[in-house]
Symmetry: C2
Subunit: 144 residues, 2 copies
DNA sequence: CCCTATTCTTGACTTATTCCAGAAAACGGG
DNA sequence: CCCGTTTTCTGGAATAAGTCAAGAATAGGG
C-alpha cells in the first residue's frame, strides 16, 4: 500500500481506548478498513488473511461487530450490496453509490447542519439519524 | 381492512397500462401492497395466500420484480430488514425507520426541492436519486 | 377458439451472515 | 514472570432472503 499514515492512526490505541482487547485480527481489520474504506466483509477478510495468514470468517464478523458496537467503525448497507465498513466516523457524511458496480464514495453534507434532519412530521418517533444515500452511475460504468 | 378506496385504485388497469398481463397473483399483490404499505415479501405472500388460497413464493417475488421494474411499486431496503414494498410512487418522499421493530413510516420531503439532492462534489457520477432514511425509535418501542 | 408467449409451480441453490461448542490467547493479580 | 479467568478465535453447521431452472399452466391476440 502506497498510502502514508498522515493521520498517525493507531489501531491498538483505538482498541484500548474503548476497552477492547488488542488482538492481531482486530488490528488487521481496523487497518484494512482505514486503508480500503467501504470494503465488505469478504474483501476485509481477504486483506486480513493476506496479512496474518489465516483468520476465520467468523473472527472477521465478530471483530467488525465489536468495532461497530464500540464506535470504531461504521457499517453501511446500501441496497443490493453486502454491508460495507468505514473508519471515518463521528462526522455526518453521506454516501454516493454506483448503481452498476456498487462503488461507494463519501459525500460531505453540503448544507451544513443538515436540514434533512428535520422531517415535517416525526410520527412520535425519536429520531437520531438522517442517512442520505445518493444513487447514480460512476464515470467508469457510464462508458459501458 | 377498514380503509376505503378513496383513490379509486384499480390494479387491473394499472397492470394493463404498463403492458403487463392481468393475473390473479398480480392483482392480489398490488392490492396487498396498497393496503399494507412497507410490507416485506413474506407478509405480502401471506396476504396473497389468504386471498387466493395458494401462491408460490417465487410468483410473489416475480410479481414484485415485474411491478417494481414497471414503476407500479417501489422497493425499499432499510439496513437490517428484508426488502419492503410500497405503492406510493412518483413523489419524492422518504422514510423513517424504527431501530427496534423495523416499522417504516412515510416522511414527506420537508425542504421542497430537496437541497440534499445536490452534493458538494459528485465525483464525476451522474446522480439520479437522493434517498433519505431517518432512524429512530417509534412510540411503542420507546416504552419497552 | 386456438396458439404462442408469458407466467406460475416446485425444488434446488447462492450469498451474506449468525450460532454453537470447544480451543486458544490476552491481560491483571500474585 | 507465571497463572487463572475472561474473552476471543476456530471450524462447522445453520439460517434468512432471495435467485435460478425446467416444465406445467394460462392469458389474450388473431
Amino acid at each position: 500500500m502506497q498510502q502514508g499514515h498522515e493521520h498517525h492512526f493507531d489501531p491498538k490505541e483505538q482498541l484500548r481506548s474503548v476497552g477492547l482487547r488488542v488482538t492481531a485480527p482486530r488490528v488487521a481489520v481496523l487497518r484494512t478498513v482505514a486503508e480500503h474504506p467501504h470494503s465488505d466483509a469478504d474483501r476485509i477478510a481477504a486483506h486480513v488473511r493476506d496479512e496474518l495468514g489465516s483468520v476465520s470468517t467468523q473472527a472477521v464478523y465478530d471483530v467488525l461487530k465489536a468495532c461497530v458496537g464500540n464506535g470504531l467503525l461504521r457499517k453501511i448497507e446500501p441496497a443490493g450490496s453486502p454491508a460495507r465498513y468505514e473508519a471515518r466516523i463521528g462526522d455526518n457524511h453521506h454516501h454516493l453509490v454506483c448503481r452498476a458496480c456498487g462503488t461507494v464514495v463519501d459525500i460531505d453534507c453540503v448544507v451544513g447542519a443538515a436540514p434533512c434532519l428535520t422531517p415535517s412530521d416525526d410520527h412520535g418517533f425519536v429520531i437520531d439519524e438522517a442517512e442520505v444515500t445518493f444513487w447514480g452511475m460512476c464515470p467508469g460504468c457510464r462508458q459501458s
